[in-house]
């Protein structure tokens, strides 16, 4: 048993330390509501980017529909909490499950479609979800869903982010995750080695969508109000930009990317056109000078791993 390694204990302590520190700073008012707002945005973007990275970065399935999973989660939690008066935990659970069900559905075309074609199919899926939202009066159509109770707080946000990172990193460092990476690398060889590529491609979508659904719930129950336009094609692109910026196949990259790009867009809030220009320039520079993203597929490690197997297996 190697659960209580030094590294794991340090990590746990650090995770709790950050949690309580932020709690304290919020209580004494050093972290004001503006910073809080930005922390929520950063946290949600981390969840979205890490979960998309599993699908696109690790498994190699190009997806332009990630915001749709977020939308499904946001509406599911919005309906549960605002319309049906359920507690937030129910909202989050229903959000995650309904989004992963959608992930299962969108995973099926991946069996036949690759590359550009898959990208277009996922894009179409995103638009369909948006159109359903626009035409459904129960959730307010184009006007959107109002009066969603604000349940998202630091505790929910933080532990959702930690859970996403924990579970997805565990997954990619297990044989299941390596199977996903082998599909990205060479699908035919992966099959010849006994990897059920059908299963793993769908699984990547299901897990990725699950967490995007949670991100949607956190969003809905923080901003009181959601409308279909929020989760359009541009949001999917935003998430993809974070993943590409941080590095396909690097979880730390997605975290770093989410922080940097969220902060940049927060400063450019008042100038949406300028924001798009700057995004485009950043993407261009990354593509030209560092196409593998800021982190490549490397992970930044807090503590030195102490040899042994699991350290070795997951040495990437």
């Amino acid at each position: 048993m190697k659960i209580l390694t030094k590294k794991n204990i340090y990590t746990l302590v650090l995770v709790l330390l950050i949690y309580f520190l932020v709690l304290l700073l919020s209580n004494v008012g050093i972290i004001d509501s503006y910073i809080q707002l930005n922390m929520v945005i950063v946290g949600i973007n981390i969840i979205l980017a890490v979960s998309l990275n599993l699908i696109t970065g690790f498994t190699g399935q190009f997806s332009l529909g990630h915001a749709a999973f977020m939308a499904i989660g946001a509406y599911a939690s919005g309906i549960m909490t605002a319309k049906l008066g359920q507690p937030f935990i129910v909202g989050v659970a229903v959000a995650a499950l309904s989004a992963s069900l959608a992930g299962l559905l969108i995973g099926i075309p991946t069996l036949r479609l690759r590359g550009d074609y898959l990208a277009i199919a996922t894009l179409g899926f995103g638009e369909i979800i948006k159109i359903i939202g626009l035409n459904n009066d129960y959730v307010g159509g184009a006007i959107g869903l109002n009066d969603i109770p604000r349940y998202t707080n630091w505790t929910w946000l933080y532990f959702s982010v930690i859970a996403t990172i924990f579970i997805i990193s565990n997954f990619v460092k297990s044989y299941h995750g390596r199977a996903c990476i082998s599909i990205r690398e060479d699908e035919i060889a992966a099959e010849a080695m006994g990897v059920n590529t059908t299963y793993y491609k769908i699984l990547a979508f299901v897990i990725g969508a699950f967490f995007a659904g949670i991100a949607g719930a956190l969003y809905a129950n923080y901003f009181y109000f959601i409308k279909p336009d929020t989760f359009g094609f541009m949001k999917s692109i935003d998430i993809l930009v974070i993943v590409v910026f941080g590095g396909m196949g690097s979880i730390t990259g997605s975290i770093v990317g989410a922080v940097i790009l969220s902060v940049i867009s927060s400063f450019l809030q008042g100038f949406p056109e300028l924001r798009m220009v700057i995004y485009a320039v950043i993407l261009f520079l990354i593509m030209v000078y560092r196409p593998q993203g800021v982190m490549g597929d490397k992970e930044f490690k807090l503590f030195n791993k102490e040899g042994g197997l699991s350290g070795n297996v997951s040495s990437k």
Binding site: S174, A189, A192, V313
Partner: protein
């Protein structure tokens, strides 16, 4: 005992008959050489044996872990049936390390479930440790242990071929299909490879079918040689028989 039976096997692509009326039986424990001029249908035959293509007509039956016929072949199931292969145009997972590549070969031997993986329960450590030990053992046999953390794409050609063989062996096959394992190797590497294949046959109790253009390797290594020409089976016999077979000589001279 025969472990592979091929009956009236045909495969055509449009008008091209890549494999035509092949009948054969392969005995357990042999090293069988499959030779023939370029375009003779050798790789196509391997692709039929591993479910990548399905026969236009005829069938293939394995009697390995279970009796199974080509109607039920799927590429991802072949490892379960006991069949593993390498590719003529090396297909390693380029951005993965040597160790990770071989661990993919071990994929079907892992036993812990998805839940254990997501929450990293104790079973994760136990099974990953076991797999690591076995794979490291294999890498040592192949003299690849020092390179275990090198990305596959950064290895020289000869070593990439070896990693591919190690990856296939990690699946613990009964039948190993090697498509031109010595292509791109220098004479020294080829000699080592010959010994290695001989050794793994004994050690892992394997049947091996190998496609190869390097005649000295084929003649040294194989108990039995099968010659393909224009998709048909031209001749079969011991190395001496094949070397002295006038039709084979003609096919090679005419084919060049």
């Amino acid at each position: 005992m025969e472990m592979l039976v091929v009956n009236n096997l045909y495969k055509s692509f449009g008008g091209v008959k890549a494999v035509s009326n092949i009948n054969m039986k392969i005995e357990e424990g042999q090293i069988v050489g499959l030779i023939g001029p370029n375009g003779a249908g050798k790789t196509t035959f391997f692709n039929l044996l591993t479910g990548i293509y399905s026969p236009s007509s005829g069938d293939i039956v394995y009697k390995l872990n279970q009796e199974i016929s080509s109607i039920n072949f799927r590429p991802s199931r072949m490892v379960k049936y006991g069949v593993a292969r390498t590719f003529q145009n090396i297909r390693l997972f380029k951005e993965m390390t040597v160790l990770e590549n071989v661990l993919i070969g071990y994929h079907n031997n892992f036993k812990y479930n998805l839940f254990t993986s997501l929450f990293r329960l104790p079973g994760y450590y136990k099974h990953e440790d076991e797999a690591y030990d076995e794979v490291v053992e294999l890498l040592k046999t192949f003299n690849l242990y020092d390179k275990k953390d090198v990305l596959a794409k950064n290895l020289p050609y000869g070593e990439q071929r070896k990693v591919e063989i190690a990856r296939a062996l990690a699946s613990k096959p009964k039948l190993l299909l090697l498509d031109e394992p010595a292509a791109g190797m220098n004479p020294q590497e080829t000699r080592e490879l010959t010994e290695l294949i001989q050794w793994i046959r004994e050690e892992f109790d394997l049947t091996v079918i190998l496609i190869e253009h390097d005649m000295s390797l084929v003649m040294d290594l194989c108990d039995d040689i099968i010659v393909f020409n224009y998709g048909t089976l031209l001749a079969r016999g011991t190395p001496e028989e094949i070397q002295n077979n006038p039709e084979v000589i003609k096919a090679y001279l005419g084919g060049e």
